[in-house]
Amino acid sequence: MSDLICDNLCMTFTNPQTGGAVEALKDVSFTLKEGELLSVLGPSGCGKTTLLNMVAGFINPTGGSVALGDKTIEGPGVERGMVFQQGALFEWLPVTKNVDFGLRMKKMDEDEAEALVLKWLDIVGLQGFGDTPTYQLSGGMQQRVALARCLVNDPDVILMDEPLGALDALTREKMQSLILELWKETGKTIMIITHSVEEALLLGERLFVMAPRPGRIHKEYKLPFAELGLSESLREIKKLPDFNSVREEILTMIWDMEEEIMGGA
């Protein structure tokens, strides 16, 4: 049992020059069960990336704790895989060397590693691209490499920080399908940060809408669209009246938050 448990997470950033403190997150608590798909949405500055970084272990919370199963998170670990917006690939290495990076770091047997890499390249649709330098790949393919690089390590949780933010609409839709497929096939816990409402609806069994000042979970949804997306085309789902009404509701919510920030500023 390795649920992701956030308990009263607080994060206060102190400006060393002015001494002023900003509450990026305040009392965030939730439990993400194994195999759940969570998308996090919110206006800029609501602390969604901070939340992800704390779960990944890149920064330590100033209050509260994160735990995966019964292990409190104190730093980055191989059981929590990361996918970044720009891929964060190692451009000096070809595709296979990027994918097997984690395996090489833990000195896995080379043949074993090669088989794993081939398997995952196949799954993400990059068969035959093993020796291509990553800088020659398109943005969508780079993200596929990043996914494979993350999955080959067999993490318990996959954390994605606006993974499809830099892609064009068509590629984006393909990648959304791919993420859903991977979720289904691997049964991994996935947490996706996004700023696209549609994407959040499609890629979230659960959806947190966060609010800023201080960063907190404003509203939580439980949505059927991710499950639906496994069998139906995403474009059809987007046409459903339910989908549209939730989308409008969330858009209005975020719009109001933005208005409030602008008014308050």
Partner: protein
């Protein structure tokens, strides 16, 4: 073969220049045609418009070489190989007549007498105004003023044509007549004149140590040479000429006595040291002006008219005798022409400091000849060759003697029977000092290799020590803060500013120069490695943490490769700076290296050698850069694409 090429360099140059003109013409023709053809290809400002264009490159190179040929007198020498010798003969006339022309307004605007009068009258007025009244008694002051006044009168006496006595008048006339005779000779032309066999056997222009052959090799030259010989005698007579005038002679005797009296007076001390010195100095300065005018070098303004006219005629005669040579000289030999001084004729102006391309090639060929016995190389070292290097020398270089000293035990002593049995320490010491035969390996040798070797070794140390430090400075607060002030303080100091210090500490051998270059390379490598390391994208670092890499693995597999573009760019810059510093350092001290050659060439004004070294440095610098660019494009193709 080489000798033949060297002898016929003027002819070869003629062909090359012809080819250059053709290639210039052709390239301009092609270029203009292409420009018209491609005018509408791209909009103005599109970088595509800079692509290609070999014809303009050819045009530029041809133009540059032609300009070089022209200003170095290469074109002149190629097509008028005798002009130099003839210019030398006419320069002989210039040299011979220079004592006379110096007195005339031809070269210096004023008659020498006019200049003398103006200057001395000015100085007399000045000295009169500065008479120190407290240092001299009233009587003495009066005597001093008299002397000053008399000196002035001497000047005016010499300047007055009525005082000029017939004897000096006649001598001046004689000079004029003699000059006219030479003029007539020159006007008579050079028909039938023959250069001597000795003259014809002289080495060609630019081939021997002596630039321009001295003896006349053409009929025209023989005429000038003869004229110059006669003029020389006339000049000698002219120099002995003095303005004789009874009027002035009277005054001179009088003034001389007055000055003697004054000198007598100041010999008696006034008791005040300062006053004594003042008196002596003033009388001395009065006497100095008197001595300038008492020798009769001032003539009345019109006295030299006839000589002036004769010299003018002589020059006209020389000009017309030169004929086409005048035109050739003006057009093809830019600068101050040929000047004859003492025993040699030399090129003046760009022809002097800009050697002809063919001569540069010939000098390079001599330098590059690896056979030192036959005059190749420079100062006993080849330019770039190879030799057998004893392995023991390399071992001795790597193992310091002190290391053997630190081993346990003592060195052996001599035995009671006077023999010496070396123990293990003695044997090791022999290895450390290179006193043992370990075979030899082929090794590059020569001035260029010595320079390269210094740069390579210094770069090696710079990279080996600088890159790790730079990387650590990019990732560690301690390393950054601890070393930053040190490096930032020594880095901005121009490397050569360290040179005197380092040469004192390490000596003038390789170690000093290598250390100097190491300092340069080290700072650049540290800074570039640091920039590269600290510029690693945070997301890449985070990704590698999440992929389970340890700190050490991140350093080796993420930060180091990520810093490679900066490190390689750093190496490229460091090599360039090292190269520049090295040549300058070799100019300060040392016995080998490219900079050493230039330094010696500088002291003996060997302009050809100076240009050869400049070109060697330029080409080697270019090669370094091209190699580094190639290495960069091969090793980091991802540069700027991450």
């Amino acid at each position: 073969m080489l000798d033949f090429l060297s002898q016929e360099r003027a002819l070869i140059a003629a062909f090359i220049i012809f080819a250059l003109f053709i290639s210039l013409g052709v390239s301009i023709y092609v270029g203009v045609k292409q420009s018209a053809l491609r005018a509408k290809d791209e909009v103005f400002g599109d970088p595509e418009r800079t692509k290609g264009g070999w014809y303009w490159a050819l045009c530029g190179i041809s133009a540059l070489l032609l300009i070089w040929f022209y200003f170095s007198w290469g074109i002149g020498r190629a097509y008028f190989p005798d002009a130099g010798n003839e210019m030398c003969q006419s320069a002989k006339i210039d040299e011979a007549i220079s004592p006379i022309t110096a007195a005339l307004p031809m070269k210096s605007r004023y008659y020498k007498s006019t200049t003398l009068v103006v200057r001395n009258v000015e100085q007399l007025a000045d000295i009169e105004a500065r008479l120190p009244v407290d240092a001299f008694s009233t009587a003495e002051q009066r005597r001093l003023l008299t002397v000053i006044d008399q000196t002035r009168t001497i000047i005016s006496a010499f300047s007055n044509p009525e005082n000029q006595n017939p004897e000096s008048f006649a001598s001046l006339e004689r000079i004029a007549v003699d000059l006219d005779r030479v003029t007539a000779q020159i006007n008579a032309g050079y028909q039938g004149m023959q250069p001597s066999a000795k003259a014809l056997s002289q080495p060609k222009w630019g081939v021997a140590e002596e630039e321009i052959p001295l003896l006349p090799m053409t009929a025209k030259g023989v005429l000038f040479d003869l004229a110059a010989g006669e003029i020389k005698e006339i000049s000698k007579a002219f120099l002995k000429l003095r303005n004789k005038s009874d009027e002035a002679d009277q005054l001179i005797i009088q003034t001389k006595a007055d000055i003697a009296g004054l000198k007598e007076a100041i010999r008696q001390s006034t008791g005040d040291d300062r006053i004594d010195k003042l008196r002596a100095a003033y009388v001395k300065s009065v006497e100095r002006i008197y001595k300038r005018v008492d020798d009769g070098t001032i003539f009345p303004a019109d006295a030299l008219n006839t000589v002036n006219a004769s010299v003018t005629q002589l020059y006209q005669a020389v000009e017309s005798a030169k004929g086409s040579l005048s035109f050739v000289e003006t057009v093809f030999f830019p600068g101050q022409g040929v000047v004859k001084s003492k025993t040699i004729c030399s090129e003046q102006g760009p022809g002097r400091w800009l050697p002809k391309p063919t001569d540069v090639v010939a000098t390079f060929g001599k330098l590059a000849n690896p056979d030192i016995e036959s005059g190749g190389g420079y100062k006993g070292t080849t330019l770039l060759w190879w030799k057998w290097l004893p392995v023991a020398d390399v071992v001795a270089f790597l193992i310091p003697d002190g290391l053997v000293d630190m081993l346990p035990g003592d060195y052996a002593r001599h035995q009671s029977d006077g023999s010496f049995v070396p123990n293990y320490k003695d044997k090791l010491l022999a290895v450390a000092q290179g006193n043992i035969w370990l075979g030899s390996i082929p090794m590059l040798d020569g001035h260029i290799w010595d320079s390269l070797f210094r740069v390579i070794v210094a770069m090696g140390f710079g990279i080996l020590l600088g890159v790790p430090l730079g990387i650590y400075m990019g990732v560690s607060r301690f390393f950054k803060s601890f070393f930053d002030p040190l490096i930032e303080l020594y880095r901005p100091v121009p490397p050569l500013a360290w040179a005197p210090l380092i040469l004192t500490i390490f000596g003038i051998q390789d170690d000093g120069k290598i250390f100097l270059l190491f300092m340069v390379a080290f700072a650049i490598m540290v800074i570039s490695a640091r920039t590269g390391a600290s510029g690693t994208q945070l997301s890449k670092i985070r990704a590698s943490h999440s992929l389970g890499a340890t700190d050490r693995q991140i350093l080796r597999y993420v930060i180091l490769p990520n810093a490679m573009p900066e490190i390689l760019t750093g190496i490229r810059i460091a090599i360039g700076v090292c190269w520049g510093t090295l040549v300058a350092a070799e100019m300060l001290a040392g016995t080998t290296g490219v900079g050493f050659i230039e330094n010696v060439a500088r002291t003996v004004s060997d302009y050809e050698l100076i240009w050869v070294t400049i070109l060697i440095m330029g080409v080697l610098g270019l090669i370094f850069d091209l190699v580094m660019r190639w290495v960069i494009s091969k090793t980091i193709p991802w540069r700027g694409k991450g």
